[in-house]
């Protein structure tokens, strides 16, 4: 179950942050997302020699904490997508699929002429699309 998704701009400014739990630990989730940004920077700036994924967009599992797993995705325009989930076993293909759909929704939201680049994404239809993508995560449905 996904508990939080975040979009962070290339200057590490938050563009979209949405939690999907009813509990009050939204702040803790924000903190987890913040720490994951450091992991992304480290992965990008110090590529491991034997990793063939130097230029790939999907960064994989970043940060397993006690309850959560954080997955990361970096676009060509240095925008980072982060996904926090409580699932214990997340298939690689599911995570990639999620980020693919999320990227499509993000591109559509940014193409809005009234959206100011660098400001938070304020589109309700983007929020609705993200909720749909999050709900269909892990159930094996492909869109």
């Amino acid at each position: 179950m996904i508990v939080c998704v975040a979009v962070v701009g290339h200057q590490n400014n938050p563009l979209y942050l949405q939690s999907f739990t009813e509990a009050d630990d939204a702040l803790k989730l924000h903190h987890v997302v913040h720490c994951s940004l450091d992991v992304i920077d480290e992965r990008v700036n110090n590529p491991k020699r034997n990793a063939p994924t130097l230029n790939e967009t999907f960064l994989g599992l970043l940060y397993p904490t006690e309850n959560y797993k954080v997955y990361g995705y970096l676009t060509n325009t240095k925008v980072k997508f982060l996904m926090v989930t409580t699932d214990l076993d997340v298939k690689d293909a599911d995570a990639r699929n999620f980020f693919r759909k999320f990227h499509a929704a993000y591109v559509d939201a940014v193409s809005n002429p009234f959206h100011v680049p660098g400001k938070k994404i304020a589109s309700r239809s983007f929020g609705a699309r993200v909720s749909t993508i999050v709900k269909s995560f892990g159930s094996g449905t492909t869109v």
Partner: protein, 175 residues
């Protein structure tokens, strides 16, 4: 999935936008009109580059990004690629397009102008047309600058139209 529009509509919108900014909004101040047109192109390029880099792996250096502009980006926009790319390996790139689609209908020959022109001097007629064409070229310059800025490359783009319909865009990367 996406809705489609005829290409001639797009050509019409671009021409009318340039003409509106030059003759109506900033009629007495062509530098401001040029700046506005370039800024519009900047935002368009910014958003388009987001869309067209979606399924690609990340670029490793400036040359890769410029090659992306020349091949994929240009073919998405104009259904053709940039014909010639030159570089001095020190941050300057010249992208030459031998048949730029937005300039194919532009003629700078003053003797072809019809009677609805107000100037009687044929030399100034040629100047007006040249000035309008220069204004039109600010838009693709802005598109290129917006796309490169979104990929993390700060640059300045200028256009050179010494022989139509070929034109070249000079990209100077700021280091």
């Amino acid at each position: 999935m996406g809705r489609e529009v005829a290409e001639s509509c797009l050509d019409g919108v671009v021409m009318e936008m340039v003409s509106a900014y030059c003759s109506r909004f900033y009629a007495a101040k062509p530098e401001l009109a040029a700046g506005r047109i370039e800024a519009i192109g900047f935002q368009v390029g910014h958003q388009l580059s987001e869309r067209y880099t979606m399924d690609r792996p990340r670029f490793s250096d400036h040359l890769e990004a410029i090659k992306f502009i020349c091949k994929d980006f240009w073919s998405e926009l104009f259904k053709k690629q940039i014909d010639n790319l030159k570089t001095n390996h020190r941050g300057t790139f010249v992208l030459q397009d031998n048949h730029f689609p937005w300039l194919t209908r532009v003629s700078l020959d003053p003797s072809m102008e019809s009677t609805d022109a107000t100037e009687s001097d044929s030399a100034s007629l040629g100047d007006t047309a040249a000035q309008t064409t220069t204004m039109l070229l600010y838009f693709p310059c802005g598109i290129i600058r917006g796309a490169l800025t979104n990929l993390g490359i700060t640059c300045a783009v200028s256009a050179d139209m010494s022989n139509l319909p070929a034109c070249s865009f000079v990209v100077r990367i700021k280091t």
